[in-house]
Structures are given as structure tokens and as C-alpha cells.
């Protein structure tokens, strides 16, 4: 029987990548570590010796270029470029979910202060959350409780250098009772989920949120499947709010971080990822 090899493309070896390396060893799967910063993306210069590419870049920009390049060579990537692009920009994600009728907080995108005020009125008033369209770990999120705060944040954003900071993604703030859910979803199937518990409205475990196991029920499975289908499946981590009328998809992530989730769920997410890659080669 042919032994397959997974190319793990990385920029930093985080705890998550260490778990993947250990899982591959345990499963007796060949894993080649490929440092993205050492690559030359040029057709005639690129040599490879793996059957599938598992993309684990910390930088989403680098990940997109690598996915685009590898797919152009006919190499299968996990996730696909399409899924990466659909998840990378929060406005893209929300718009795709909206088109497919997936429940989520009300949202919109504006470029000027006046339109921001109109949008906030349209989505039901304050409080709202302003997020950068790209980026993560809950960085540069602003909860806006009134118009004064909106004006202050808008002015500050004008001084930031990134053009993406000039696009204001505004989302209705959802009361979370100290927790939200992160669900780990493989081709639409929720393999496990955690609650992210925090007294702060930002619950990311990278920001100190505490993970505990979340039993996966039928409703959670249903909304995650629908969101996964809309995005294009693959390996996804979905942030889910428990709204008063049911679950709401907040964000969909394409390069999941899971090191804090294996212990509370008892699921070896790293092994599931390795097995998923093997399944996709065949």
C-alpha cells in the first residue's frame, strides 16, 4: 500500500502544529515541514514531494499566495483557496452566509461616518461592534455603545495606515452571558465544540477566554452544516453565539487553532486533521 505524505506549510510552529506533528507520528503518517518563508513561488523553481498540502500559516496573506500557487500547479490544498478567501474577510464571509440564509448577527460595511450612523440605525441601534474585515484573536474590535464612541473610533481609524481599517464592518452586538461557542467542523460535520467562557465581551482563548466542553446538539450541527456548505466545506472553526432566538454564526475561520480545545473536548483534533488530509488524497 502506498504511503502518502502531507506537506505542512507553516510560518511558526505553534502548539497547534506541534500537536499535528505528534498526531502524524502516532498515526505513522509522513509529514514534511515546509517553512513558507523559505519558499520561492515560481513554477520552474518549485519542487515538491508530498501528496497534499496542509496550510497552517499564521499570516493569512502568505496562506492565500501559497494556496493560489499550489492550486495552479494542480496540488490539492487544505483548505482550498476558495474557502480561504471566503473566510479571510469578515464581510465576504457574512455576505456569503446571508445569501444562503444562515442566521447571524445583523451586519453591514461602510466607508464614512454618516453612513455608519445610518447603518447602525438600520441594524437596530447601539450597542454595535466594529471589526477590522481581516485579522483575528479579537484584535482591534471595538464595542460602540453610543454615537460619541462611534465618532471617536471613526477618527482614530482615519490615522491607521492599513486601507482595510478604512472599511468599517459593523455588527449588531449580541449579549452572550459570558460565553460563546467554537465548533470544529469538517466538511460540514461538527466533531466537537467548546464554550469560550470569559467575563469580557471578547471571548477568544488567545485573549484569556477559558475553554470548556460543549455538547453538540442537533441545532448546532444544523447551523454549522449550513454555514460550511455556504463557505465551501473544508476544515473550519466556527464561532457561534447563543442568541435568544437560536444560534447565530459570528465568524468562520479557515486555519483553526485548537491547542486549547483537545483537552476539554477529549477529541484529538490534530488526528482528525491528519486523517482528513489522508482521506482527501484518495
Amino acid at each position: 500500500m502506498k504511503k502518502y505524505k502531507i506537506g505542512l506549510f507553516y510560518t511558526l510552529i505553534r502548539g497547534d502544529e506541534k500537536l499535528l506533528i505528534d498526531a502524524a507520528k502516532k498515526l505513522n503518517v509522513d509529514l514534511e515541514l515546509i517553512n513558507i518563508d523559505n519558499l520561492i513561488l515560481k513554477r520552474d523553481a518549485f519542487k515538491f514531494n508530498f501528496d497534499i498540502a496542509l496550510l497552517r500559516s499564521v499570516s493569512s496573506t502568505k496562506e492565500k499566495y501559497v494556496a493560489f500557487f499550489l492550486e495552479s500547479l494542480g496540488i490539492k490544498t487544505i483548505n482550498s483557496l476558495k474557502v480561504i478567501q471566503n473566510c479571510d474577510d469578515k464581510f465576504f464571509t457574512s455576505t456569503i452566509l446571508e445569501k444562503k440564509g444562515v442566521n447571524q448577527p445583523k451586519f453591514g460595511l461602510v466607508f464614512s461616518l454618516n453612513e455608519a450612523k445610518k447603518l447602525i440605525e438600520n441594524i437596530g441601534g447601539y450597542p454595535v461592534v466594529i471589526k477590522p474585515t481581516t485579522g483575528s484573536w479579537g484584535r482591534m474590535l471595538a464595542k460602540i455603545n453610543d454615537e460619541d464612541a462611534l465618532e471617536a473610533i471613526f477618527e482614530h481609524k482615519q490615522y491607521l495606515s492599513s486601507p482595510y481599517q478604512k472599511a468599517l464592518y459593523i455588527q449588531k452586538f449580541i449579549e452572550k452571558d459570558g460565553r460563546d461557542i467554537r465548533a470544529f467542523v469538517f466538511d460540514g460535520e461538527v466533531i466537537c465544540a467548546i464554550y469560550r467562557n470569559s467575563n469580557h465581551w471578547i471571548t477568544n482563548t488567545a485573549r484569556g477566554g477559558i475553554a470548556s466542553n460543549c455538547e453538540v446538539n442537533k441545532e448546532l450541527k444544523k447551523i454549522c452544516y449550513k454555514a460550511s456548505e455556504a463557505i465551501g466545506h473544508g476544515i473550519l472553526a466556527m464561532d457561534v453565539f447563543e442568541g435568544k432566538d437560536g444560534y447565530l454564526i459570528n465568524e468562520v475561520n479557515h486555519t483553526m487553532e485548537f491547542k486549547n480545545s483537545e483537552k476539554p473536548t477529549g477529541v484529538s483534533i490534530s488526528s482528525v486533521i491528519i486523517n482528513y488530509c489522508l482521506k482527501k488524497i484518495k
Binding site: Y10, K18, S60, S136, W137, M256
Partner: protein
């Protein structure tokens, strides 16, 4: 295997270290990267600052 934090000199143990592995110094909390392994000693450097398009 172990190596010293380049900032506070704390001796840090890492199991099966990988080049470019990200760790936190247990003493000063500085994020460090495994730069190289020389004579069974880990050489750490400071990790880059978090960039705008990082993480999930």
C-alpha cells in the same frame, strides 16, 4: 533539550524542539522562537511582533 532566554537568561526546557517553534519564556513571558539547535542546546531569538493578518 534546553536553551537560555535571550532577554532574561532563564533556562527553558522544550520537548522535541522544532526550528521556528514559538514558545513563551516562563520567566519574562517574552515570545521566543527556536532559531537553531547547536551542540544539543537551543538557540532562541525574540519572536516577531504580531502582524495585522495573523491568527484566527
Amino acid at each position: 533539550m534546553n536553551g537560555q532566554c535571550p532577554l532574561c537568561s532563564q533556562l527553558l526546557e522544550v520537548n522535541n524542539p522544532e526550528i521556528n517553534e514559538l514558545i513563551s519564556c516562563s520567566s519574562c513571558n517574552q515570545k521566543l522562537i527556536v532559531k537553531e539547535i547547536k551542540n544539543k542546546k537551543i538557540i532562541f531569538i525574540e519572536a516577531p511582533q504580531i502582524e495585522e493578518d495573523w491568527g484566527e
